[in-house]
Symmetry: C5
């Protein structure tokens, strides 16, 4: 898993029907200046994270195990919000 910062929400009116009702957030990976060069990451959020939260994201098939997404075409999901004390990494 990676640690990233939630930087916003993503809204798609035209999308795969299996994504209906899913919250999708923009995530910027932390750890280096290089990380922001990997393109803009989008993750499904089911735990209610907000902009500025430091979160853990899981990719690949793991993203479809967060509950309620088993057959959705998604490959990244927020699985936890990192507690305050570790945010100053």
């Amino acid at each position: 898993m990676y640690i990233g910062k939630v930087t916003g929400k993503v809204v798609c009116t035209v999308k795969n029907e299996l994504l209906q009702g899913m919250s999708m957030v923009l995530v910027e990976l932390l750890g280096s200046g290089e990380s922001t060069k990997k393109g803009l990451l989008v993750a499904v959020d089911t735990i209610g994270c907000g902009e500025g939260n430091i979160v853990i994201v899981a990719g690949g098939g793991a993203a479809r195990l967060i509950g309620g997404c088993q057959n959705a075409p998604i490959d990244l999901a927020v699985i936890g919000i990192v507690d305050h004390q570790i945010q100053q990494i």
Copy 2:
């Protein structure tokens, strides 16, 4: 998932038979100059995106969950067109 821009279509006369009838588009990842250095990405499109659209692509097994592609040898698919207001990221 990643956010990218559709830059064209890809046509293959000689291809795996399971790809017959699938629309394949070229996608350039957004977010940095570095992203274009990752090679040319090709994604299956079932939602009707066009050149210039800003889209979300999902990779790996997720790509085969978009509907009608379960057993096709594909690893990237367009799952949504990002609404206008977020395109100026």
Copy 3:
């Protein structure tokens, strides 16, 4: 999927028995000078591509869906030869 150029064949006398009879080609990803820095890619070919062909490769589980490879330990396969008109990307 990625677009790459076939640059040769790979021959292994000592190999996993499930690879017997499979054609394996070297593929150099296109799109940037950076792409060649990702190591030498090897893909299984079942559609008969040749050196110099511009091809689409699919990775991960997708590679095992090309037909006849379902249980083989492979993670990259050629799924199409890009038509001439798009080769000048």
Copy 4:
């Protein structure tokens, strides 16, 4: 798999319910200065590694095969602590 160094623990009060009771550690990949630019890696630990340990991590579906995690939304796990003699790579 990759070799990395355990650099700390990650604590999430708000998280996916399937992560309850799992130990999650921060891992910095070894091998180059470049590796630290890949973002902060988080791995599930079931073998009891500690800060400073040099470990092997496995990603993707492999992470869910370490035992007791089959349906958890995780994509990286510690699978071994590298013996002392090889730590000076």
Copy 5:
């Protein structure tokens, strides 16, 4: 798949029980100076490769299809030793 050079063995006394008896080798990806910056790769070997061999490695679920490893938490395996004539790539 990638082509790499076997540079040594990895020994773990403390490890996941499903790794018991497996031979794990260090692999350095070939193709560029950049490749060595991706961290230290570890692959399971069941075909008997030795230090200095140029090998093909397969990742992800493919690694668990080499035989006898179906449920092991591994994500990279040696699947072939490249014949001498192609080693001077």
